[in-house]
Symmetry: C2
Subunit: 223 residues, 2 copies
């Protein structure tokens, strides 16, 4: 008799990866550049979006947002004020978004009119990095109030990110945080990620962030 082997973890990820692949296909077919915005609770992901979205709109980029939260629709409500399509997903306890949740989001967005979809993941510096979503571009949002050593303590998310946005630089004088040391720690786990320092509160460097993301969107459209 042959032993039946059940590998739970692998099967779980295999199913997720399959749906992620289908999501990627949908984005490609609709020529949509997709972004996965990750970071700790309170790192300022939504605040950055509130400053970034008007810049995208001013530059003619049509953007839709998928908001992932365990509970509530605080973030979705903050974003829908900009008059763009927003889908709020409540994970009902899960600490991260999975590919099938993104699928639900995609199905509820007017894809044919969009250039970009931004996914704001659940606030968590660990688990979201483990689940592929089928999204083109990973961003980690860090903040100067979290401590400069976080890239080495939470290496996976930092290592899979193409862009690391260091937020709350308006508070640099009030906290002990050495930006150069943070960069060194980032480089220990990720040698090529772009780093941009911003303030979601004052808007500092948000134009630079917007320009960078728009450049990536245009490169994607040409590819």
């Amino acid at each position: 008799m042959t032993i039946k082997r059940i590998q739970i973890g692998e099967n779980l990820f295999a199913k997720n990866d399959e749906i992620a692949g289908e999501n990627a296909k949908i984005f490609v077919e609709n020529q949509i550049f997709s972004i996965n915005l990750m970071g700790s609770p309170g790192s300022g992901k939504t605040a950055i979006l509130e400053k970034l979205i008007p810049e995208l709109i001013n530059n003619g980029i049509s953007c839709g947002v998928i908001e992932g939260d365990i509970a509530g629709s605080f973030d979705g409500e903050r974003i829908e004020r900009f008059g763009i399509p927003v889908v709020q997903i409540n994970t009902g306890g899960a600490c991260h978004l999975e590919a099938h949740m993104i699928r639900k989001g995609i199905e509820n967005l007017p894809l044919s009119g969009l250039d970009m979809v931004i996914v704001e993941n659940v606030g968590n510096l660990v688990c979201p990095a483990e689940f592929k979503l089928g999204v083109d571009f990973n961003i980690t949002v860090a903040s100067v109030t979290e401590g400069e050593e976080k890239p080495v303590k939470y290496p996976l998310m930092y290592s899979i990110s193409e862009l690391i946005v260091l937020n709350k630089v308006d508070l640099l004088n009030a906290v002990e945080f050495r930006v150069e040391k943070f960069k060194e720690y980032v480089r220990q786990v990720n040698v090529q990620a772009e780093l941009i320092n911003v303030s979601g509160k004052t808007g500092e460097n948000i134009k630079i962030l917007a320009e960078y993301i728009i450049k990536k969107t245009k490169q994607y459209e040409k590819s």
Copy 2:
């Protein structure tokens, strides 16, 4: 033929809960009051411990610490300076501590000489709340830089905590955070938790926090 039902999630938690029960028994047998310190990455859990431990030592409390991190030993090194027993556990990717990891910690602490064991969980506002450790007292550390609505966005951890420590009050003037509003949000998910505002940086109210924890330790010893 009878269908064989395999409930993966429940079995996983059942095994964890069994070990958690054994951990609780070990703490009781050794008359050790045990604390599970949880919170977001960068909420300031270690900074609070750095201020709290000298207060505990001054009050004759013998304390051991189990440090949980995905990778690295930054936090363990910060704590061992106080000359108390510290065990650094690296979860190797897991976003939370589980009961069997606490067991490893317990096995490496000189239990007979201790009044208290503090577990510093992995920085994560979600998953640590889902795994029982066999520990007596749950504390959530929040910080004013995270945003006042977090209790409602991450309700599980806030709901299972006996004490909520609001950290970084030294930054209240630099951020938009209404303490009263935060308390209202806490009360929506937890009607009875104690709330103490502190600064791990300046030491503000750390004596009050220490007194409260010492009182709980003494109540435990009498029970």
